[in-house]
């Protein structure tokens, strides 16, 4: 997917300013930045939930909008789950919503997030971490080729974090690309091919994720953060 000169204003407030971003097939991008930098808004633009005020988004290889949406898996801070349905019913619903019926796939994602045991229980009985894991399973259930992940590690315990990390790496090997939003840059660094730093709605830094680049990235990043603190206080 390609974003060209995308700007977004919500209620006349500029949130994104002339973003140029190229997301190649199968590429893992880490989207970093402080709170309010516009990371989540950028994900919403990529998911076509929000339309850019100016600029253009282009779907890969001339995909139609519906086709793009069907290839997309999304983990947002909200889980999108129905709490009076069971975990299984939730996944079944979302899978059918994408026009698929594949029971094996559901079994598989339940295994992957380690929830097989409780799949017949209502979501309202789940703990917060279980809900988060189910939300991740929900994003994978229609076998998307592109993932948009907004702080997916939030609320997960260490074991679950490891599970998700492994899952992402494995998917990435199979050619699934993702955009990972995180405030923990050290953690995200292991999981990305390229890091993008957002500040006040602008891309201020783009660098490949290697150990070499990490130090210089962190120096700049902390510089931005400091300036941000100056603004607040």
């Amino acid at each position: 997917m390609q974003l060209k000169n995308v700007s977004l204003a919500i209620e006349d407030k500029p949130v994104l300013r002339s973003i140029n971003l190229n997301w190649a097939h199968g590429e893992a991008i880490a989207l970093l930045g402080a709170n309010g930098a516009g990371k989540s808004s950028l994900l919403k633009v990529m998911s076509t939930l929000l339309h850019p005020s100016t600029g253009k988004t282009t779907m890969p290889e001339g995909m139609s909008l519906q086709k793009w949406k069907s290839k997309l898996g999304v983990v947002f801070p909200e889980t999108f789950l129905y709490s009076s349905l069971t975990g299984y019913e939730n996944l079944l619903f979302y899978q059918k919503l994408y026009g698929k019926t594949d029971n094996e796939q559901i079994e598989q994602v339940f295994n992957q997030v380690n929830l097989s045991r409780v799949q017949q229980e209502r979501v309202e009985t789940y703990s917060k971490g279980m809900k988060q894991r189910l939300a991740i399973a929900r994003a994978f259930v229609h076998q998307p080729t592109h993932l948009l992940l907004d702080e997916p590690f939030d609320g997960l315990d260490l074991a679950s974090k490891t599970i998700l990390e492994r899952l992402l790496k494995e998917k990435n090997k199979q050619g699934v690309g993702y955009v990972l939003v995180s405030h923990d840059s050290a953690h995200a660094w292991d999981l990305c091919d390229r890091a993008v730093l957002l500040h006040n709605g602008k891309i201020v830094l783009e660098t490949p994720c290697t150990e070499k680049t990490y130090r210089s990235f962190m120096n700049q990043y902390q510089g931005w953060l400091k300036e941000k603190q100056h603004d607040v206080f």
Partner: protein
């Protein structure tokens, strides 16, 4: 695909609502209770009822439907599940249709219980024209529910949703109300038959307008 998606949303909503049951039950109880209330305050007897029959029959159904609009599908707002729907490759018209059918089913269940109660309490002789009555009940509920589901979904971001919805839909529904009250009167008391075709035409036209228009408008309006 379109209808499959509508059905999928309908089935999900019904599963959730029947699991909780409280909404449908309270809609039915409210309708019957309100009917009893109306009959008491109007001191309705067979003589007096002629003038107000259509109102006593319809008002409990309409109010019960109105109370249902904002509560039906409330699960969608819980974990922002509506966004989950909007991200999926689903036609937004299909979302409207699914919700319309679900609400309609509930209102029909209310009608099935509340209308016999009306005849029971008022010892009304069996309606002369049962076909016309059923036709009016069907299309009348349909039109009102279509209007209600459309504007309730839109007004969800309002600070006064529950009040704004009736304020919006009642004036718009005046033609519908006139048509159903006239047709109901004709069905109950077959002596008045003037202009029946005209009202039927109005009712059908109104229903078509408010079923088709939202199917297209939903796409423009349901953006985050």
């Amino acid at each position: 695909m379109f209808f499959k998606q509508s059905l999928l949303i309908l089935k999900r909503d019904l599963k959730i609502e029947f699991r909780n049951k409280s909404l449908l039950l309270s809609m039915i109880i409210f309708a019957v209770l309100f009917q009893v209330f109306l009959q008491i305050v109007f001191d309705a007897n067979i003589e007096a009822i002629k003038k107000i029959a259509a109102g006593v029959l319809w008002i409990p159904i309409l109010l019960s439907a109105l109370l249902g609009f904002s509560k039906y599908g409330i699960a969608e707002r819980e974990n922002d599940a509506l966004t989950g729907l909007l991200i999926a490759p689903v036609d937004r018209g299909a979302i409207f249709l699914g919700k319309l059918l679900g609400n309609l089913l509930f209102v029909f269940i209310v009608v099935i219980i509340s209308v016999p109660v009306f005849f029971l309490f008022l010892k009304q002789p069996f309606p002369e024209s049962i076909g016309l009555l059923l036709f009016t009940l069907f299309l009348g509920s349909w039109g009102f529910v279509a209007l209600g589901v459309f504007f309730t979904t839109l007004a969800q971001s309002s600070s006064i949703t529950d009040l704004l919805v009736p304020i919006m839909i009642f004036p718009l529904a005046v033609p519908l109300f006139l048509a159903i009250s006239q047709l109901t009167e004709m069905a109950l008391y077959p002596s008045i038959v003037m202009g029946q075709d005209l009202w039927v035409l109005l009712l059908v036209g109104y229903n078509i307008l408010f079923t088709i228009a939202p199917l297209f408008l939903f796409d423009i309006l349901l953006e985050v």
